[in-house]
């Protein structure tokens, strides 16, 4: 059985059946699909899987749903309006399992998840639940939050969907296009939840990255989402994911970029990333995703840490700052400038800047300053930053990395 078959079937079936039944029945749809998977578990273990497992699941989920709608709606008239004319005993219409149509349904559902009316924090949770087939407990584990909080976010999303006039059938192309930046933002968030996660299990982090790549690929290959920003977003995901496997040593400890074994980087991913990056360069658009993908590409395709084109990276970071002003981007630019022109030049980038409280409280600010001051020879200042960075490190793996990196000679 293909990896994640059950989870991905869940997403496809929910997307397709939610279109047929309408969003207000989303919970019923999810229950029907869950029931179909459960039935498969019993039937397939006893008799082996059917020739077309996807069609089998569709048929059972569809029957579950119509049965459930019949019970809850009570009147056949309502049923007919929502699911179409399905007489009892008659076979449901042939499943729309042509690749294009499933992709359509998945994307429609993705755009629904990114409805402006849904609170930002609920969008990601709704996408993880309906499109990726994660349970509430699994989402809580991945987002470092409680199950209660996931339930709450889901409930808010479902409330909004019930009120929303928008239905899966209706949004015209222009409406979808207008919502595209919101969709890209959720996909970016989904990827980063995996990529930046402090979760100790590599497989779990990788899974979220793969889901993001999967959905972004659907978007990039569909007319509604095929724009340079989406291509750049997909490029940056591939280029980051290519290096994911080399970020840890054999003991699970984090590795600095310069310590990573570059031969472990995923060549196939790098090739795909380069291809999408090339496609993203068609047209007049340059977005924050372009800048980030460019930075990732510089790192990926540098033959060694020493031969990295730091000047390019510093330039890309200042472009990124223009699109998405953030102290983190400035901090990264300082690091790139320090590699390019020396630690003093790097410190000059941060000269006079007063960091916001959240940044001072995180280990990143002190870690960078500690490193730059050490290299500039300001040992006393370096030591102070080192202490503060170690104190605020979020995980033991990060603390260990900082200890190694920020050794100050006495």
């Amino acid at each position: 059985m293909v990896e994640h078959f059950f989870r991905h079937e869940y997403g496809r079936l929910v997307a397709t059946l939610a279109r047929k039944a309408g969003l207000r029945h989303l919970s019923l749809v999810e229950d029907s699909v869950q029931g179909a998977l459960h039935a498969a578990l019993t039937a397939w273990t006893a008799h082996g899987p059917p020739d077309d497992p996807g069609a089998w699941l569709y048929r059972v989920a569809f029957n579950n749903l119509t049965g459930e709608l019949r019970r809850t709606a009570g009147r056949l008239r309502i049923l007919e309006r929502t699911v179409g004319t399905v007489a009892e005993g008659e076979d449901p219409p042939a499943p729309s399992y042509f690749v294009g149509e499933v992709a359509d349904d998945m994307l429609r559902m993705l755009f629904v998840c990114c409805d402006d009316a849904i609170p930002r924090h609920s969008r990601l949770v709704l996408a993880l639940k309906t499109l990726c087939g994660f349970s509430v407990a699994e989402i809580a584990l991945r987002l470092f939050t409680t199950e209660a909080s996931v339930y709450k976010r889901l409930a808010r999303a479902r409330d909004r969907l019930r009120e929303s006039p928008l239905d899966l059938q209706t949004p015209p192309f222009e409406t979808l296009r207008a919502r595209l930046p919101g969709v890209q933002a959720v996909l970016y968030l989904l990827f980063n939840e995996g990529y930046l996660s402090a979760h100790p299990e590599q497989a779990i982090r990788r899974e979220l990255c793969d889901e993001a790549v999967h959905l972004t690929t659907l978007l990039a290959e569909h007319p509604v989402g095929a724009v340079p920003e989406t291509f750049a977003l997909l490029a940056l995901m591939h280029l980051h994911a290519a290096r994911l496997g080399a970020r840890r040593d054999g003991m699970g400890g984090l590795l600095l970029l310069e310590e990573q074994d570059r031969s472990l980087w995923d060549r196939e991913r790098m090739r795909q990333g380069a291809q999408w990056l090339e496609r993203s360069a068609t047209g007049e658009v340059f977005s924050r995703f372009h800048a980030e993908a460019g930075i990732a590409a510089e790192h990926c395709f540098a033959p060694s840490f020493g031969q990295t084109r730091w000047e390019e990276i510093a330039e890309l970071y200042s472009m990124l700052e223009r699109f998405a002003p953030s102290p983190l981007h400035m901090l990264n630019r300082a690091v790139a400038v320090a590699e390019w022109q020396g630690a003093i030049a790097g410190l000059a980038v941060l000269q006079g800047y007063v960091p916001p409280a959240w940044l001072v409280g995180s280990y990143l600010w002190d870690a960078v300053l500690g490193d730059l001051h050490r290299r500039a020879g300001n040992l006393e200042i370096a030591r102070q930053h080192r202490e503060r960075a170690l104190a605020s490190a979020p995980t033991e793996a990060v603390r260990e990395l900082l200890r190694r990196r920020l050794i100050v000679p006495t």
Binding site: H4, H38, G133, S135, E138
Partner: protein
């Protein structure tokens, strides 16, 4: 090739519903079950199946609602396996994924006969 047959009855206490497994967990269960089936394919004579709830009891006094009401644990499924010994049969049934879980267990009975 063992010839002694054993009947395995899956029993569960009503009302003790396990939390619904997630799609990912279901796939894991599916893989685990298939691996078990493959490992013991020489021992599994009849995969049997899951029993639908309900059913009636036919006795001297005619048909009554069954299954036997005094049983606290309901029979949810059955299968027939072949094993070298009773302990061997217990081992095979015990290794079956999902059979032994909160609120569920298996009764193993030796079938008399050649």
């Amino acid at each position: 090739m063992p010839t002694q047959k054993y009947l395995c009855l899956q029993r569960s206490s009503p009302g003790r519903q396990m939390q619904q497994p997630s799609p990912a967990q279901m796939q894991e269960m599916y893989s685990a079950f298939n691996a078990w089936k493959e490992k013991f394919k020489a021992n599994i004579l009849d995969m049997g199946g899951r029993l639908k709830p309900g059913g009636k009891f036919l006795g001297e006094s005619g048909v009554t609602d069954g299954p036997l009401v005094e049983t606290k644990e309901l029979i949810g499924g059955f299968m027939i396996i072949a094993a070298e010994s009773y302990d061997h049969a217990l081992g095979i049934a015990g290794a079956c994924p999902g059979l032994i879980a909160p609120g569920s267990g298996v009764e193993v009975r030796e079938i008399v006969g050649p």
